[in-house]
């Protein structure tokens, strides 16, 4: 096979020379390995936390929430009478007493249910109440829900520590509380707690269950009761202030939310918007981590570069021999190039293997987290595609880093080396 002759010769020389300089080339491989290892481990840790946060957020938050704020409110009366350009000002205008609510909510719920991409819809009323138990008080973000439909939108029953969510419907004046609230007030299932808000009528509620969603901000503030109880407590009979929606594809939420807002005229919010502050921190974090990974891979690349440049300088004599017996410039270039690529691939493969181990080990590491999300171990995410990218980045580094030395090697003039030797 004459066409393969250059390739065979190049591989023969490249692999042998690599093997005969195990220490130096091993160091170069080590540099790449370290880069890929860090790439995989850091990416795993970063994604681990982000994925955990996102999945936790998604199980306890609706994908899209419609609020009772109208997007196109009616203009004030004077403006309605005289037009928008009229100069009219009422000094000390008292705030409107009109409470906002979603009008004809059940029609909207029905309409939403029939929309494409929607999995479940639940109407609710939300407000803040004070709980009083044994002399301790605590403010609670109370949600009056339709128990059956709410559990399809954000499952709560799954996270019950004690009691059952559906007992809300059975027990009349009842409430389900987050574990953080129960701990603070010293409440247990079966206790009765007094609840009140400024506008409504105080009620004694029986605690029929305690949930723990493992999202501390929710577990410490939220309580669930029936729509009727919440409406009475908050003094808002028959009103619905939010409609929560679960989608088939949560990543679709921003687009779907836009559609809802346009067709229904109420302010809506996707889960991404609701958690924009965290998601933007994640975006920043991702950028910083990528920067660090890039820097470490770059260092690995410089390792290859430094060692290869040194080898090329030491190998002038050998290059002169190879050229004099008939290897071409391109062959010499390829010899060093192949060496760079082999170093990179070995480093990449080794980095992948160690990275996999690191991910496994980190995942076993007992670290208690209790901030945004709750976990007993280090949060890591083992993303299969990262191993592919590890190899790809290693290869890019190897190709780029070995190019300069390879080019340098190919430019060695055999006569100059021979002349120097013979003097």
């Amino acid at each position: 096979m004459k066409v393969l002759a250059p390739l065979r010769t190049v591989l023969f020389v490249a692999v042998r020379q690599l093997w005969e300089r195990k220490l130096l080339n091993g160091i170069a491989v080590g540099g790449v390995t370290l880069g890929v290892l860090v790439l995989i481990a850091m990416n795993g840790i970063m994604l681990g936390f982000q994925e955990k946060f996102t999945s936790t957020i998604l199980r306890i938050s609706p994908h899209v929430t419609l609020f009772d704020t109208e997007l196109r409110p009616k203009p004030p009366p004077l403006e309605r009478l005289f037009g928008p350009r009229s100069v009219a000002e009422v000094a000390h205008q008292s705030p409107s007493k009109r409470q906002t609510e979603i009008k004809r909510p059940y029609e909207i719920v029905r309409a939403l249910r029939s929309m494409e991409g929607v999995e479940a819809v639940a109407p609710s009323v939300a407000g803040t109440v004070l709980l009083d138990f044994g002399g301790k008080t605590k403010s609670v973000d109370l949600r009056g829900i339709d128990v059956a439909s709410q559990d399809h939108v954000t499952s709560i029953e799954k996270y019950m520590k004690s009691g059952r969510l559906r007992d809300l419907d059975v027990s009349g004046d009842a409430i389900v509380l987050g574990s953080g609230i129960a701990d603070d007030l010293g409440l247990r299932t079966g206790d009765t707690v007094r609840a009140a808000s400024p506008a409504g009528k105080p009620l004694d509620l029986k605690v029929v269950g305690i949930f723990e969603a493992e999202v501390p901000p929710v577990d410490k503030t939220r309580g669930y009761t029936t729509l009727r109880v919440a409406q009475t407590l908050l003094g808002r009979p028959d009103s619905i202030t939010r409609i929560e929606v679960r989608l088939k594809d949560p990543d679709d939420a921003i687009r779907v939310n836009d559609r809802f807002e346009r067709s229904l005229g109420y302010d809506g919010e996707s889960w991404q918007e609701a958690n924009a502050n965290f998601l933007s921190i994640f975006a920043m974090q991702t950028m910083v981590v990528r920067f660090v990974i890039g820097a470490i891979l770059l260092v690995g690349g410089f390792g290859i570069l430094a060692i290869q440049v040194m080898i090329v300088l030491q190998k002038q004599r050998d290059i002169a021999i190879l050229r004099s017996v008939g290897l071409r410039r391109l062959d010499i270039l390829n010899i060093f190039f192949v060496q760079g690529v082999v170093i990179a691939l070995l480093g990449g493969a080794l980095g992948d293997a160690l990275g996999r181990l690191a991910i496994y080990w980190l995942g076993q590491l007992p670290v208690k987290t209790e901030g945004l999300v709750k976990s007993d171990t280090f949060l890591v995410h083992d993303e299969p595609s990262i191993y592919f990218w590890g190899i790809v980045f290693a290869l890019v580094v190897g190709v780029v880093a070995s190019f300069i030395p390879a080019l340098r090697g190919s430019r060695v003039e055999p006569v100059e080396v021979l002349r120097g030797q013979i003097g």
Binding site: M1, K2, A5, P6, R8, T9, F12, V13, R16, Q17, W19, E20, R317, D318, A320, I321, L322, R323, S324, V325, G326, L327, R328, R329, L330, D331, P414, V415, L418, R419, Q421, I422
Partner: protein, 227 residues
């Protein structure tokens, strides 16, 4: 042109100038010579006389500044870099003073490498390599690396490399220059036998006049000119 009449090597008004930063250094000038097929020629001259440079020009390793070099019917200046590499690979065999062998490869592998580049099958190349080593009395040393061979043995291996490819011309640059007298004699004998017994064309640079006189012909250089 009838190749049986045309000499194997022919130069015409050959010159080589090395340009340093400021000065131009004339190394060779006006060299016109011809070497016939099967001739054993010794290039002699003092150090700096330009004999090595002439050898590199005859070996398609260097480019002339002026004049012509015809080897086996091809003018060297008409070839580009890759074509010259291929020409060296296919028609020339080199032996250098410091027995240039690749240290990572065994004696046999050093011999096989140029043939592999040429497209010879590995089996065939190894067979020819073994034959060449056998001929030079190194048959059982084929698996050794250069570091495990004596200077004389290394030089024989590099001769074997030059010969195994069955070149048209063998070019040797002070092949005995770095050897003790016994080894030098042995190596010279090899070249003499290649020329006389196998009718190969050998061009050897040497400053050892006792060897030079034993060649078919001496070409003496002084200050870049043939005298």
């Amino acid at each position: 042109m009838d190749r049986s009449v045309e000499p194997l090597i022919r130069t015409k008004n050959l010159g080589r100038t090395l340009a340093n930063a400021s000065v131009e250094h004339v190394i060779l000038q006006g060299v016109t010579l011809s070497i016939e097929r099967g001739e054993f020629v010794a290039l002699t001259g003092a150090s700096g006389s330009g004999k090595s440079t002439l050898l590199y020009l005859l070996g398609a390793l260097d480019r002339q500044s002026e004049g012509e070099v015809w080897i086996d019917g091809v003018e060297m200046d008409s070839l580009d870099d890759d074509e010259r590499a291929a020409f060296r690979n296919e028609r020339l065999g080199f032996v250098f003073q410091f027995h240039f062998l690749l240290p990572e490869f065994t004696a046999l592998e050093n011999i096989v490498l140029p043939m592999l580049r040429r497209g010879t099958q590995r089996d065939e190349a190894e067979e020819r390599g073994h034959d060449a080593l056998e001929m030079l009395g190194l048959g059982d040393l084929h698996g050794r690396k250069p570091g495990q061979l004596s200077g004389g043995q290394q030089q024989r291996v590099s001769i074997a490399r030059a010969v195994a490819n069955d070149p048209v011309i063998i070019l040797a640059d002070e092949p005995t220059g770095n050897l003790d007298s016994a080894n030098a004699e042995g190596v010279f004998e090899v070249f003499a036998s290649l020329a006389h017994d196998q009718k190969r064309t050998v061009v050897m640079v040497t400053h050892d006049s006792s060897f030079a006189t034993r060649a078919d012909r001496q070409i003496r250089l002084k200050d870049g000119r043939v005298i």
